[in-house]
């Protein structure tokens, strides 16, 4: 008997519209979805479909034009900017395509800057940062380098450490391998898989099929709606059947 999953995020009737002077662009409308705790949810879709916009709305980084988002029983759409900032620091971690590490800081300082907002004391934060760096295979000597002095893969793995330093409820990742070569991409994705296996909820936006295979639930966004929802839960990692299932799903979506 399947175990009923706990809803982490519930979005109802979301609408997002960008206005520029007299013209407006509708990204999505009447969009509703649930995200479950412990899932590695992947959002896919064509360019401009609104994948990132949806993800940033769910994370409280951006505000939907209409609709409500309940995140762990809290309606974050009613939060003001400061409350949203506190919500993000307590509940979310972010990994960006362009990595966005603070340039004037070492990798370690980037992580500790985020860690300073958590509830642990400085010693505990440093200890956890070291453990996480070890988890993502970044040695101590690299931790002291600036983001401009390390490879893209190393910088992105440091970005993941920064995202999870405060034990967020969800890690939001926006095309995390989009700017990396295949070796670095693999290393980064392995980190995502590793932390997901340890129970971390992840929502990731990608248009890369290989990356999407790391998830256990694929949402496809099209015409401003969740056009398809595919579960890969029953397929083991790196299983051919899993890949086939995803291919079929994407073909169905018109990918």
């Amino acid at each position: 008997m399947a175990v009923e999953k706990e809803i982490l995020i519930s979005a109802k009737n979301l609408k997002k519209e960008f206005r520029m002077g007299d013209t407006s662009q509708m990204i999505f409308e009447n969009l509703s979805l649930d995200i479950y705790k412990g899932d590695f949810t992947v959002i896919m879709g064509a360019s401009g479909a609104g994948k990132s916009t949806l993800m940033y709305s769910l994370s409280g980084m951006d505000r939907p034009t209409e609709g409500s988002i309940i995140f762990s029983d809290k309606e974050i759409t009613k939060y003001n900017d400061d409350k949203l900032a506190i919500f993000r620091r307590e509940s979310c971690g972010f990994v960006f395509q362009q990595i966005y590490l603070l340039e004037k800081m070492s990798l370690m300082d980037n992580v500790l800057t985020a860690g300073a907002l958590g509830k642990n004391n400085k010693k505990e934060v440093i200890q956890r940062a070291k453990e996480l760096f070890e988890l993502v295979n970044i040695p101590a000597v690299t931790q002291k380098k600036f983001s401009t002095q390390v490879s893209g893969g190393e910088a992105q793995r440091a970005g993941i450490v920064r995202a999870i330093i405060n034990n967020p409820e969800v890690v939001f990742a926006d095309e995390p391998t989009g700017a990396l070569n295949s070796n670095n991409s693999e290393a980064v994705l392995n980190v995502f898989t590793k932390i997901h296996n340890e129970g971390q909820s992840i929502i990731m936006v990608t248009h890369d099929k290989k990356t999407a295979l790391r998830g256990n639930r694929i949402l496809y966004i099209k015409d401003g709606q969740i056009f398809g929802d595919c579960s890969l839960e029953n397929y083991k990692e790196a299983n051919k059947e899993r890949e086939q299932k995803l291919d079929e799903f994407l073909a169905e979506m018109g990918w």
Partner: protein, 774 residues
């Protein structure tokens, strides 16, 4: 094509250009005010001087000593071109209710209707009808003393009061202002004849002398002195063109100095600002510049598009600044007329305009070009990739893992140290602006809080009451006053005129200079013994301490040892100090000194004067509420000082606002993405505002505190320089550390408030937008 790039630059950064423009506008206002004063006041003075055929030197001698041949003898002198003589009455008079107080002045009363070839009078206002008691006042006495047409003016001479009706106000260029201690008064013929008949013993002959071209005034002075000495004639007064001009234009010259200093400081701030802004805009527009270079634009074309907006703003803002300054000039000339004693109109000055435009455009061009010239060295591909040497990160300040302390505080320190250039700029600007504030706060302290410090620097002795006793009652009054518990000290003090090197010099004689409240001696010691003298600062170059000097008073001559040098702003240092016995030796008749009365703290001066009048009314000729006179003077200075302090403070705040605006705006543009990252990981608006402010406010606050603290060293130097310019070799201005710190804290708080409002835009941008808008 480069025009479109130029307008793009102007449009993109219009806030910064507006701020820069306003700073340039303020600089242009000050610079043009100073230059118009430089170019026009001096000329206006000389024109007026010549229009009224004013004599180069005017000397008064007792009429009884005058001879029939003296005029010819003077005319025969090598340096003399023309001579005119006329009779007048010269005496010390107290003008009642002169700006609310009694004012003692040496006054020369003239027959206004006598025809004049020299020292002509320019009547500015005149009553329709002249009365039997008519008087015409010089502009200075009328405007500063607050006497209007048909007002009453009372001259008290000895025991007698003369009441006149002001029938006219005129301009003359013969006398200085009250600083010279000598004024004219002009009576219609019949009034003069009646007045002169009462004071025959005070009749004088005035010789007005016009020198040949290229004659040195000092040389002419010496020739006339020698001639009079030869003929044993006493020179009672001497007024020459140079010293009169110095007195009348003193405030104007001081104002020019202050305006130029301010303009320089503000200009310095503005050019550093544009240099800072250009350096940053190169970083911000690096990719665009790379693309333009790749398209074939030359380095100079791109530099032009960066430099030209600043030059355009400078041209326009300085033009408006010059125009705006002409709105201020009428009130300024009115203020200066009050002190200069002659009216003048300041007109549009093309020289001033050209100088302002040239100076500002030249300096801005040099600074902007220096800042922008590195564009030439940019390699297009590196620029397109956004690589610049300036962007290289050299050091990870305060590594969080290794540095003890609160992480959020360490983040502020990191920001502060990694923005070195910006902090250096703010440090420098804040330091310089604080110099202005420190100067203003010290002025404020010494004029408003401790007014005696300022007044005593400009004045001579300052008792609370001056009593003129009748000769036979002097001892009784002194003894009675000394037994009064409200009175602290009674000092015999008198003023007179003696001759040093045949030039009339004001003498201050006192029974004990160790008891005076305002020690004028700035070098050596006051005279104590009968044969000792302290000379005014104007003699310092000529005589040395310990030398003997011969002093004449009429036929009597005595030798004194120079014990010190004293200052006197009002007499341009043309004074000396003698002990009472020393002064008595120069007088054939006994002296009846005034009694300078110093009161216990809290004593009511008015009621004490009333008591003295009641008890000793018949024993005294007159008494003057000197405290009231000091207060009147202080009120006048307090008004001007308050305006100066307010103007300096407003200007400083305004400049601080523009500087902070440009710095914060630059910072927000540069760190937009970084702030987005902070927001994304959960930093609140307030945390980010504190972090941004924390990255520059400490350096600015440190500069303010340091500069204020150092004010203890540099403000006395500034005061020394300024007061020496007007003849006060020693000033009593105190620099209050508490006051410096109070003003410093106000400045820091104001900077903080400005910064909070300027960093508020952080709130309006969503973290998502920050990240998306690279």
């Amino acid at each position: 094509m480069i025009q479109s790039q130029l307008f793009y630059n102007l449009k993109k950064d219009k806030g910064s250009y507006i701020s820069f423009g306003i700073v340039i506008l303020i600089t242009a206002i000050m610079l043009n005010l100073a230059l118009v004063l430089v170019f026009q006041v001096d000329r206006a003075y000389d024109n007026k001087f010549e229009a009224l055929d004013t004599a180069t030197i005017n000397v008064c001698i007792p009429q009884i000593q005058d001879t029939d041949t003296l005029k010819d003898d003077i005319k025969a002198l090598e340096s003399v071109s023309e001579v005119e003589c006329r009779e007048a009455v010269f005496l010390e008079a107290v003008v009642k209710d002169f700006r609310g107080t009694d004012f003692s002045m040496n006054t020369v009363f003239y027959n206004k209707d006598e025809s004049r070839d020299m020292n002509k009078l320019d009547i500015k206002e005149e009553s329709a009808e002249s009365t039997k008691e008519s008087i015409y006042l010089p502009l200075y006495v009328a405007s500063f003393g607050e006497f209007g047409l048909d007002d009453e003016i009372i001259y008290e001479i000895g025991d007698k009061k003369h009441t006149f009706l002001v029938s006219g106000v005129l301009e003359e260029m013969q006398y200085g202002n009250y600083g010279k201690g000598l004024m004219g008064a002009y009576l219609p013929k019949s009034v003069y004849e009646e007045f002169a008949s009462e004071y025959e013993e005070h009749m004088v002959t005035e010789y007005s002398i016009i020198a040949n071209d290229n004659t040195e005034i000092n040389a002419l002075n010496n020739e006339i002195s020698s001639l009079l000495e030869e003929k044993s004639i006493t020179m009672l007064t001497s007024c020459d063109k140079a010293s009169t001009k110095d007195t009348r234009t003193m405030v104007c010259n001081l104002l020019i100095l202050v305006l130029l200093a301010f303009a320089l400081v503000i200009l310095l701030v503005s050019v550093f600002l544009c240099k800072f802004r250009i350096s940053n805009s190169i970083e911000e527009d690096m990719v665009n510049m790379g693309v333009l270079k790749a398209l074939g634009y030359t380095g100079n074309m791109i530099i032009g598009s960066v430099v030209l907006p600043y030059l355009m703003v400078t041209l326009v803002a300085s033009l408006f600044g010059v125009i705006a300054s002409y709105g201020i000039l009428p009130s300024l000339s009115e203020l200066l007329t009050l002190q200069a004693g002659f009216s003048f109109r300041l007109l549009f000055d093309i020289k001033g305009f050209i100088c302002v435009e040239t100076i500002l455009v030249f300096i801005v061009t040099v600074f902007t070009y220096t800042a922008a010239k590195r564009i030439r060295k940019l390699q297009p591909i590196n620029a397109i990739r956004g690589n610049s040497e300036g962007k290289a990160i050299k050091k990870n300040y305060f590594p969080l893992e290794e540095t003890h302390g609160n992480t959020k505080l360490l983040l502020v320190l990191k920001q502060m140290f990694s923005n070195g250039k910006q902090n250096a700029l703010l440090f420098g600007v804040s330091f310089v602006l604080t110099i202005l504030i420190a100067f203003a706060s010290t002025l404020f302290y010494n004029v408003i809080v401790e007014p005696n410090n300022f007044i005593s620097t400009l004045s001579e002795e300052m008792p609370e009451i001056v009593i003129y006793p009748k000769e036979q009652h002097e001892a009784t009054i002194v003894s009675d006053l000394q037994s009064n518990s409200d009175i602290k000290t009674v000092l015999k003090y008198t003023m007179g005129t003696v001759n040093i090197d045949d030039v009339p010099v004001t003498v201050f004689a006192c029974e004990d200079f160790s008891k005076v409240s305002n020690d004028l001696c700035y070098l050596g010691e006051n005279p104590d013994e009968k044969n000792e003298i302290a000379l005014g600062s104007s003699f310092e170059g000529k005589y040395k301490l310990g030398e003997q000097i011969e002093i004449q008073n009429g036929d009597i001559s005595c030798s004194y040892e120079i014990t010190g040098f004293v200052q006197s702003v009002n007499y341009q240092g043309n004074v000396c100090e003698l002990s009472m016995e020393g002064y008595a030796a120069l007088n054939s008749e006994s002296i009846v000194p005034s009694l300078y009365v110093y009161l216990q703290d809290g004593t009511d001066v008015e009621s004490l004067i009333a008591d003295i009048e009641e008890q000793h009314g018949d024993m005294i000729s007159n008494q003057v509420n000197y405290q009231k006179m000091t207060e009147t003077t202080q009120e006048m200075y307090a008004g001007i000082t308050s305006i100066i302090v307010i103007v300096i403070f407003v200007l400083t705040i305004l400049i601080a606002l523009f500087v902070l605006y440009i710095v914060i705006k630059t910072l927000l543009v540069q760190r937009k993405q970084e702030l987005g990252i902070y927001k994304a990981i959960g930093y609140s608006n307030w945390q980010l505002m504190v972090q941004v402010m924390g990255s520059f406010l400490p350096s600015s606050a440190l500069a303010v505190l340091l500069s204020s603290g150092l004010g203890l060293v540099y403000v006395p130097q500034m005061n020394q320089f300024i007061f020496q310019t007007i003849g006060a070799m020693k000033n009593n201005m105190e620099v209050s550390f508490t006051f410096l710190m109070i003003f410093a804290l106000i400045q820091i708080v104001v900077n903080f408030i400005i910064s909070i409002s300027l960093t508020k835009p952080i709130k309006k941008i969503s973290a998502y937008a920050l990240i998306k808008e690279d």
